[in-house]
Symmetry: C2
Subunit: 341 residues, 2 copies
């Protein structure tokens, strides 16, 4: 299976980590955005796939190499364009999130996806971390009953971000870039649909990062009166032990599940919540993606989930921009499309 | 100093714990609500103040005993009425929260307070827990810089609640009863004013508790683009080690402070957040209240804070009831009143 990489900005590491476990080969690399440098990535990839070639234009690369899979991970506002180019050529797409940074772009990707008969997944790789996988497995098997309330947290170190993070036009915003993971968890764990969102974000105190928002919170109402909240910040101190501090707390009718510090904690009639659960072994998101294309498995991240979380993140950003409650609706049409498509 | 207790429902324990440290005496007890039983409390109080008398009507008690202090802790919807009766007699009031369960009642209490020249404080006793006191002291001294994002949690066991919890009319709602503490922390720690709130709550899966909401979340915008979220639930499993699981996370420009599990954790340039801070010694809220009346100290909970958190909780409940964003405004007038009053 031939893989081309468009861009060197996002979590291409998911591909590099897994490529050796698959029969796939990285045959080409191209930048996906104006000014994006792919030489560092090229050096890395050459060690895994010595025949890899570098291209100046990803459309030429796709036309010439005709890969089965395109990995899209350029500047965030360019994900949609590159994905559409790949889908239009009947190529499976593994794309960095957010898949699009505007609703109009997301609709274009959706249209291209519906017309192509391929697999598509966004890089919601945090689902594959053992702590999240373990929590999800337990919750799915009824460990906390029915989920009623969810609280999610994304906290990152800011450091010095590349220039394109400083403009909404190229970056897309912190809710779609950072918060989208948390938004994805809310839907993935509960199985509920989003009904409305009220969100806020602020760029104050962003240490010279232009328009980049460093704090945000999204309040979601979901079906069946499930309530959820997700906070995100870039204010994690530099000396913290890890880059990020991801957390999730799920309150159910029969117990409470928490993911924190790379561990999962269960509080229910059988567990007092003080000890972390034994973790399931990790799996690779890209290996799973390839397996699904081969008809040999199923990636935890479906195309529908990828579109759904992106749309929810973009509507949350809109709520924060406008200071207004946003009611979902678009996505139900999309869901119908998918069912009938 | 003579103290009368109206009601036996709320945290009268604050008074019983501290009374021996003060020169105050509990001279009378009366129920504050239809059907409220005070005999159990009477037995307890007799051990501390053998001369205590029981009354059938608290107005008669206040008229006959003329206490300096009234403690109000009856069914929540009756707090306002009892407080107004005490204030009208020039008696200092230490009242269970929420001080009122409707905005109209809160305005009546405010009017009575402005006309009386006494001290009033709501039982925001959680401020006095060593973990919160320690965190507050550090934050006040700049340990995390300027607060930008706050997340608070209140989680309780439900058990079997008394009948009056099952009706909004007598209970007032979970946001004003449980959530008000978290709402109080947001203002107390940040010093910011509330700008707007969007909140949700649900009574589903409340195990036969009528209208009582068992899950809720409140999203607040505060001045200076500070963002905050507070969740509350009654779904803490029966076998959990403690009745409650109070948490607070404060993200600042120079660090992150967390209160969790009775401890305070500081992550900043000097602390890696892994060790809990040495805790300040506890203080008693009622002892402080009495000291303030004597002119010998200052209670951490001011009258203005008590009104402010109550109003914020009632507006949050209104938002949840209506599914609408609520903008603050009333309280600014109140604040002006206070400044000029």
């Amino acid at each position: 299976m031939r893989v081309c990489i468009i861009g060197s900005t996002g979590h291409v590491g998911y591909v590099l980590q897994d490529i050796g476990k698959t029969d796939a080969d990285i045959v080409g690399i191209s930048s996906g955005s104006e000014g994006e440098d792919v030489l560092g990535l090229y050096e890395e990839v050459k060690r895994l796939s010595p025949e890899t070639r570098v291209f100046g234009d990803y459309r030429h690369m796709l036309d010439e190499l005709r890969p089965e899979v395109a990995v899209v991970a350029c500047h965030f506002a360019d994900h949609a364009k590159a994905t559409i180019e790949a889908l239009g050529r009947g190529i499976h797409v593994f794309t960095e999130k957010p898949m699009a940074t505007t609703l109009a772009d997301l609709d274009r990707v959706w249209k291209a996806y519906r017309e192509a008969n391929v697999h598509l997944a966004a890089m919601f790789g945090i689902r594959y971390q053992p702590c999240f996988l373990t929590a999800w497995d337990k919750v799915r098997h009824g460990a906390i009953g029915t989920i009623r309330l969810m609280t999610a947290q994304k906290s990152y170190k800011l450091g010095r971000r590349a220039g394109f993070f400083r403009e909404r036009r190229s970056y897309g915003g912190t809710i779609p870039w950072v918060g989208i993971h948390a938004i994805d968890w809310l839907h993935w764990f509960s199985g509920e649909r989003f009904v409305s969102v009220f969100a806020s974000h602020s760029s104050l105190h962003n240490r010279g990062h232009g328009e980049l928002e460093v704090t945000a919170n999204c309040h979601f109402n979901l079906t069946n009166e499930v309530i959820a909240s997700a906070s995100m910040d870039y204010l994690r101190p530099d000396n913290a032990h890890s880059h990020d501090d991801d957390r999730l707390r799920l309150v159910g009718t029969r117990g409470i599940m928490e993911v924190r510090n790379g561990s999962a904690y269960l509080l229910n009639a059988d567990n007092d919540g003080s000890k972390s659960l034994p973790l399931l072994p990790t799996r690779g998101i890209f290996a799973d993606f390839v397996a699904q294309i081969r008809g040999e498995g199923r990636c935890l991240v479906s195309a529908e989930d990828s579109f759904y979380a992106t749309e929810a993140a973009l509507l949350a950003r809109q709520s924060a921009d406008e200071g207004q409650l946003i009611t979902f609706g678009r996505e139900f049409r999309r869901s119908d499309d998918l069912a009938s498509g």
